[in-house]
């Protein structure tokens, strides 16, 4: 991301792949990319990319660029290097590449330095899932499922509807919709136009506080910025190991493979221990999901119980997080 104009290229910096179809005047036809909690490639596939390319070519012939109020002009250039915390981040590295997630981490760090960082700020670029909608991965404006009692269901969105516009912003892809959702307030309304049986129908979604949050944000590289973590790395036990320890597949079973946190060592956690409960959480999860729990639910300085399976016995230790984030 070195030298990239962030005022022009605005997207989910936690992800690994994003694209823009543009003209030579910095104007955007459509965005392609984005992901949900399930997978980095949840909405990346050959068919949808080809369809988007065809649409972009057709729009280019008509010079039909996006013109809604949400579209960045990019006239004022702002680069990642201008984020006040970026220089210090890069100074610690041999390789000076600025990754996409570095941009978000640097921004969150800057907010933290100003005492303005809030946990919910990690939930950037919501997807259709936050509305209760699953979009077809191939035809990305087509509604595949609508979750009952969701904002979309309450507004009357139906399976088979095609989202044409969101807040007057043309929607061809998940990337287009996500861009609008990023600019939608923490609580409020979202106006959609959906095509149904050849007719364009306006629907209005009521979005309650917290709608931007998703169920499993553990994939977000920037998550560690908003709360404490367990200071360790680990792996899930395989089936044989679980059988030996009498831990069923639905239960938490993470073997500690590496410890970096002084607070983790101080708690008495050792490499080789198997975590079977953390702060009361006993369901099966990945190491990233394990970290996400305290990061999103506990504060710096809090103490939580951790149950370890060690030499065939359960040992309960108490882990106290550092009083504040590292510099």
């Amino acid at each position: 991301m070195n030298g990239i104009n962030l005022n022009l290229f605005q997207f989910e910096f936690d992800l690994t792949w994003m694209s823009f179809f543009m003209d030579a005047k910095n104007r955007i036809y459509t965005r392609y990319g984005g992901r949900d909690d399930s997978s980095p490639e949840s909405h990346l596939n050959r068919d949808s990319l080809l369809a988007t390319m065809r649409s972009a070519l057709a729009l280019h012939k008509l010079q039909d660029v996006l013109t809604s109020r949400l579209e960045p002009t990019g006239r004022t250039v702002r680069t990642p290097e201008q984020i006040p915390t970026m220089r210090a981040m890069l100074a610690k590295r041999k390789n000076k590449c600025i990754h996409c997630h570095d941009v978000k981490v640097a921004r969150l760090k800057h907010l933290r330095n100003q005492d303005k960082l809030k946990r919910h700020m990690v939930f950037t670029y919501p997807t259709s899932a936050n509305l209760g909608i699953t979009l077809d991965p191939g035809e990305q404006s087509l509604v595949r499922t609508v979750q009952s009692r969701s904002p979309a269901a309450r507004a009357g969105v139906r399976v088979g509807d095609r989202i044409v516009k969101a807040e007057d912003h043309r929607v061809l892809t998940l990337g287009d919709l996500s861009r609008v959702l990023e600019e939608t307030p923490a609580a409020g309304r979202l106006a959609l136009q959906v095509q149904r049986n050849g007719q364009v129908i306006p629907v209005r979604l009521e979005l309650a506080n917290g709608w931007r949050q998703s169920k499993d944000p553990s994939w977000r590289e920037s998550l560690h910025m908003v709360g404490p973590n367990c200071g360790l790395w680990g792996r899930k036990l395989n089936a044989n190991e679980r059988r030996r320890l009498k831990l069923t597949s639905d239960k938490l079973a993470l073997k500690v493979t590496f410890i970096w946190g002084p607070h983790t060592r101080k708690a008495g956690i050792r490499v080789g221990d198997v975590i079977v409960s953390l702060d009361g959480q006993t369901r099966d999860m990945t190491i990233k999901q394990l970290h996400a729990h305290p990061t999103l639910n506990r504060n710096w300085g809090d103490t939580i119980p951790v149950v370890l399976r060690r030499a065939g016995r359960d040992v309960t230790v108490r882990m106290t997080f550092p009083k504040g984030p590292p510099d």
Partner: protein
Amino acid sequence: MSRTVLLATAMLATTAAPSLAQTEKPAAQKLDGLISWVYDYEQGRRLAKRTGKPMFVVFRCER
């Protein structure tokens, strides 16, 4: 679709960094394959202007 119809501009994590010292600029990581990627956005824009083609600008970040 012909691969020459769209200009392909790959904005990797390694493009030029104007505000870093010259020695700190990371080298571009070139991609293999059939597409002739342009690794500099402004160069891509100039090409798009000259040829009248739209741009396909890709950000690909490795961790």
